[in-house]
Subunit: 258 residues, 2 copies
């Protein structure tokens, strides 16, 4: 039987506010077996950029990344947010190791070609180093991954954390029985954004298209779910969208199914 | 025969200016065998703090680190500087991995007690995880270490990079035949600061005391050399103070001897 691996992506305010981060790390630290935490940090990056007088432009949930913005995201994601999570997990007995895609060459990406929009230093993943990651996991280490990749030619690139989590899942599900959890502020994908209890328990690709057409699913949730369906098609066992409390319990929230 | 390990500490403008960093990384990448790079980043941290309106206070070469300064140093050292070095080394074929002391719990420190001066979130090292580091090195990975440690209770701490390099050397020289190189702007310790050629080829503890008394050695060079002598006393094979060019050649510069 293959070993289990759980990949949890946390973003939004969860990782950026002291109290919610502590709760998340406690829940995460109690998960037994192989696990990877992928985090965002967008709100802190936007706040730092603002203090530095750097304008933030976000198109379809993706940050336009000029040279100064790349510096800001590298500092916030791979520095501040990543190392605080790692120190917090170490205090809870998890042997965390913070990684960007450049470290041990774990995630290589190519700078997105300029089309209708020039995203700047944004990277689309073209290779995940499954061997390096599984060697770390098999020693009991807990990778904590910041959404910064590299191109193998010396340049860092900003890469969406949802995409990183999905690509890691797709690549590692050849070796592990893999669950992928997208963790955010809400308890799941909501039918009605104003009603926290209107969680849609299950979404398949047909319902996904309907909900997109109706405008129930929009913005950054669209690429998140698309990457989740792609992960399922590649052999990931389970994909769930839930809130921070969902990771310690029985995976409440919204389950993606094919 | 024990394997060789070289620990190179680079600081000052070398790691913070694009052109000198490229040269350094080229030279460093050509060193065969086990190696660790420990870096600073103080000038960038000071520049970022200034932009954010955070006052920088440095006493005897040590940065007073309040909560905001800790955030700045974590972002700059463990984020910006560390990941740029790692990406640069990966492009040169070195399998670099960037680490703070929290990652894999490699360097634990205690917050410096408040004495005549309150240094704030500054950590004095009390434990180096030799096993985790040597396991990485033995797989061919190249640790790139930022001067941020942790206390094992969830807090990050700012720790002088010279001290980190010396403590790593002291701890790892039990396993490896170890050379420690402090790399800075000058070709070595100078007899006369205005004369770049007045390099003192060798300093022993007696000469060190004389040069301190005469004011030839002052400021941050004093703790650097003290930690170098301590490393020699603990069994480190060779300690040299030199410039970036020194690492590729035959270790010109100033050699410490007991």
């Amino acid at each position: 039987m293959r070993e289990h691996l759980i990949i949890i992506k946390v973003g939004g305010q969860i990782v950026e506010e002291e109290s919610s981060l502590r709760t998340l790390l406690k829940d995460f630290s109690r998960i037994a077996g192989g696990k990877i935490l992928v985090h965002g940090g967008g709100k802190s990056a936007t706040a730092l950029a603002e203090k530095l007088g750097i304008e933030t432009k976000i198109v379809d949930g993706r940050r336009i990344t000029d040279a100064d913005t790349l510096k800001v995201t590298t500092m916030v994601y791979a520095g501040l947010v990543n190392k605080n999570i790692v120190a917090g997990l170490q205090a809870l007995g998890n042997n965390a190791i913070g990684l960007s895609g450049a470290d041990l060459d774990i995630i290589r990406a190519v700078k997105r070609p300029v089309g209708a929009i020039d995203y700047g230093y944004v990277g689309d993943i073209n290779w995940v180093n499954a061997q390096a990651l599984s060697e770390l996991i098999d020693t009991g280490a807990v990778p904590v991954i910041a959404p910064i990749t590299h191109d193998g030619k010396g340049s860092l690139l900003n890469t969406n954390a949802d995409t990183i989590a999905s690509e890691l899942a797709r690549t590692l599900c050849g070796k592990y029985e893999l669950r992928l959890i997208f963790c955010f502020e809400k308890q799941g994908v909501l039918m009605n954004e104003a009603d926290e209890k209107s969680i849609i328990p299950e979404i398949d690709p047909v319902l996904f298209e309907e909900l997109k057409a109706e405008g129930v699913i929009s913005g950054g949730m669209i690429p998140k779910l698309e990457s989740g369906f792609n992960a399922l098609r590649r052999g990931v066992k389970e994909v769930v969208v839930t809130n921070a409390q969902g990771i310690s319990g029985g995976l409440r929230g919204t389950r993606l199914v094919l």
